[in-house]
């Protein structure tokens, strides 16, 4: 998980950036990766091009391939989770508590566990 892997690499991770990318996340290239995902989900073509360029400049072309494939993988995982309604584990809820505002966490947790 993100917290453990950041410790493994000696990064000073600020997990709140996952929910609020205006905050610096404290991982090399991490802010560019957050903006990349935002551009893919909500941005326009120019946003996406800028985001790709930022990753290539900060991390290199191989990292852009990885970022795109991880994004695609979680587009898949999220849909499998929502479609099958697999419950959110208590561990996952605990893990997310410092990345998601409490009202959001309660809403997501409730919607996932009510079926």
């Amino acid at each position: 998980m993100l917290r453990e892997s950041a410790i493994a690499f000696g990064y000073h991770l600020n997990l709140t950036a996952i929910g609020d990318p205006s905050v610096a996340i404290g991982v090399p290239g991490g802010d560019e990766l957050l903006r990349f995902v935002d551009a893919l989900v909500t941005g326009c073509k120019a946003d996406r091009e800028d985001a790709r360029t930022a990753i290539m400049d900060s991390l290199g072309p191989d990292c852009l391939v990885d970022a795109a494939s991880v994004f695609g993988n979680f587009e898949m995982m999220n849909r499998v989770a929502e479609g099958t309604g697999i419950p959110v584990s208590p561990r996952a809820v605990e893990r997310m508590k410092d990345t998601v505002e409490l009202p959001d966490l309660d809403r997501l947790s409730t919607s996932s566990e009510s079926h």
Binding site: D66, N73, V100
Partner: protein
Amino acid sequence: MTGEYCGSVFEFNGSAVPVREDLRLAYIDLWSHLGAPGPTLTGSQRVQLGAHARAVREGDTPPWVGLPDSLLKLAATLFRNPAAVDGTMVRGTADEVGDPMTVETIAVVSMLAAVDGAHRGLGAELEPLPEPAAGNPTGEVAEGLKRRRTHTPMPPGAIPVALDLLPAVGKVFRTSYGPQYMTETEMDFANFRRDPGLDRAQIEIVSSRTSFLNECFY
């Protein structure tokens, strides 16, 4: 991964960068799977589901598909806005077409989202959908599974087994996320790093923000 030819070669036209070979082969395998007969749907029906989902997402008029409306609605909603899918929608579909066809549709749309998502990330043109293979549905469905506070029947466990009502589909799903993300073995190491490429912390930033924006914990 076999990278067995399915009529698609995945050239990633327009990509800003070259794509590593293991990822290309993984997508060819996914495409071969999508175009082949599944447990309850023919290859042609599976490809039509994908075309329908893509068209709805783009705001285009979807091509006619001879499948129940509830199944098409589930496919399109899951592809465009997964957070809008709930137990009522999934169970309503399953009541009409059965759990196996519902799970197969979830799998088809989800795997398509993986490939299309990566293409958007790379700035590449979307890969044309695969040519459907001939043949009847396989009928391979696991017996004895039940809902576990879930929308669909599945064995005990976490998300890797979520599609195991359809064993062959579940196997393809699990195989696919190694090249895209990490293998299950690589997930055991907090200090995993693709070389060259992202380290695990950077990978988890992408996965966490994607899930956050999709309003999903995974």
